[in-house]
């Protein structure tokens, strides 16, 4: 069964979203409903036997790269500006087909946000490379 990494893009993506009210402007009940939905997706994927792992990512972090021989690493600290690309978390699923991975991603993107409306966030679906070639 192929594995897919589903990256939840809280902001950014191939094209801007029609309406994206940031979570900092939701009510407490809207936030609660959103979190309950996320738990429900994880429960559903566990029950169907497709979940490998799912995690949220903290907003803060850093970009790091090799600075060259004898030089210190180049570090750019967070927080990253709100306007930039922000990956809020990921699912790793083990599914029958690419179609199923897309179906899961579309469902996850329907999480309720402001006024209970789906947030339509972009979910990047990337096949995970396999070690062994498929059987002929």
């Amino acid at each position: 069964m192929p594995k897919y990494l589903l990256l939840k893009h809280y902001s950014g993506g191939p094209e801007p979203l029609p309406s994206c009210v940031p979570m900092s402007e939701w009510t407490a009940d809207e936030i609660t409903a959103h979190i309950a939905f996320q738990h429900e997706v994880v429960r559903m994927l566990t029950e169907s036997g497709e979940l490998v792992d799912a995690r949220g990512l903290s907003t803060e972090g850093a970009y790091v790269r090799f600075g060259g021989p004898g030089a210190a690493p180049v570090v750019t600290d967070g927080p990253f500006p709100e306007t930039k690309e922000l990956v809020a978390g990921w699912f790793l699923v083990d599914v029958d087909s690419k179609d199923r991975a897309h179906e899961i991603a579309a469902h996850a993107s329907s999480a309720p946000g402001k006024d209970g409306e789906p947030i339509h966030e972009w979910i990047e679906v990337r096949p995970v490379m396999d070690d062994a070639p498929p059987v002929e």
Binding site: M23, S24, E25, W26, T27, A28, E30, I31, T32, I35, A36, H39, G56, S58, T59, E60, P79
Partner: protein, 382 residues
């Protein structure tokens, strides 16, 4: 046959074997084999002295293993020592084993893993699941830890402060949501308390029990954090609280206070209040003054600032937070405490902004959700 009995005896037996000079990893394998044997034989005939039975069987397994390994390597069998004669009733074997598992040469993560494996009798898979790492990674961590302590003598008493730190790490992992680990940490603290008369050991056990007593009230049906002042206190485990207070009172009577006893005293005062508004804040503040004098941990001083806010008002609390500036820069709890005090002082906008910044900075999902909701509530005036 009691599973609990076997779990209690396993580390004692391992301690005996290692004290007699057995290599830690081989001794552990031998104890596992002896336990399997016990599962097979005991249902029919329970030995009069289960501990001595296990020691004899494990020692035999250890010698068998060494013999076959030795034969493989064409070594002289003469070098193999028979078990040292003498009583097995060395009460401190468990304690010595715990010192070994929490050896200062080990990183905290390794000490935690080894303690759960050797003392707690958890399988490698169970430990891996508890810490969300692959089983192979945890197996490697444990075997590296065993190599690190191989050959270290088990004769000198270790540092009890390190053992306590490791046990509290295990407890906190469990208290964050993984229930079995919290219960396991309490079980190990009880084992330790039975064999050590150090009052801080009793203080740690009391502290764990006082927190554990509130576990049913700590989360709502949606798995959201319920803060202490909003918890349904009828859900608190009064039996655990009473036991903890007994243990703590006896420990404090020894007149050698330490940070765990003081933290337990603070937790006991919270647990003693029938409602949040009846909390004895002045007395809690007095204990926090002691705690800050005892420890260099700036988070203790931060918690003290919250209590100052309760005793002398939020503005005084904020001044106490300002005094900490520097040591906790960028820590999400600094933002959260300041937000809480600003909220009480009526500065809603500043409080909401700081709750949000704290939410961005924490790495705990439960805490992030809680802080985000706090901010949302303030904005909508709920």
């Amino acid at each position: 046959m009691s599973e609990d009995l076997l779990r209690d005896l396993a580390p004692q037996v391992l301690g005996v074997l290692v004290r007699r000079g057995g290599d830690f990893a081989s001794a552990e394998d031998a104890v596992q084999e002896a336990l399997v044997e016990a599962h097979r034989v005991w249902p029919e005939t329970v030995p009069d002295d289960p501990r001595a039975w296990l020691v004899t069987v494990a020692q035999r397994k250890l010698i068998d293993a060494l013999r076959s390994e030795s034969a493989r390597h064409r070594r002289e069998e003469a070098t193999l020592a028979e078990p040292a004669p003498g009583p097995t009733e060395q009460a401190d074997d468990t304690l010595l084993l715990m010192f070994l598992c929490c050896h200062p040469a080990l990183s905290p993560a390794s000490a935690v893993a080894l303690t759960l494996r050797a003392m707690g009798g958890l399988t490698t898979r169970e430990i891996a699941e508890a810490f969300l790492v692959p089983e192979a990674t945890m197996a490697q961590r444990i075997s590296r830890a065993k190599r690190t302590i191989a050959g270290r003598p088990l004769t000198t008493p270790g540092d009890i402060a390190v053992v306590l730190r490791v046990l509290y790490l295990v407890f906190n992992e469990g208290y964050g949501g993984r229930g079995d680990l919290a219960a396991e940490a309490i079980r190990l603290a009880r084992l330790l308390a039975r064999e050590s008369d150090e009052p801080e050991v009793a203080g740690m056990l009391a502290l764990m029990l006082l927190h554990h007593a509130r576990r049913r009230a700590r989360w709502d049906e949606q798995r959201a954090i319920v803060p202490l002042d909003e918890q349904d206190r009828s859900l608190w485990d009064q039996g655990e609280i009473a036991e903890a207070v007994r243990i703590l009172t006896a420990a404090l009577a020894r007149g050698r206070p330490g940070e765990y006893q003081v933290q337990a005293a603070i937790a006991a005062l919270h647990d003693d209040a029938p409602t949040a508004t009846e909390t004895d804040w002045p007395q809690i503040l007095a204990w926090y003054d002691d705690l800050v004098a005892l420890t260099s941990n700036p988070l203790a001083a931060l918690s003290r600032a919250v209590v100052v806010g309760e005793v002398a008002g939020p503005r005084a609390g904020l001044r106490a937070v300002d005094a900490l500036e520097g040591s906790l820069d960028g820590h999400h709890r600094l933002d959260a405490v300041r937000a809480h005090l600003l909220e009480r002082a009526g500065d809603v906008d500043a409080a909401a902004a700081l709750y949000l910044r704290a939410a961005r900075r924490t790495t705990s999902t439960g805490e992030r959700d809680h802080l985000t909701r706090r901010a949302a509530r303030l904005r909508s005036g709920q």
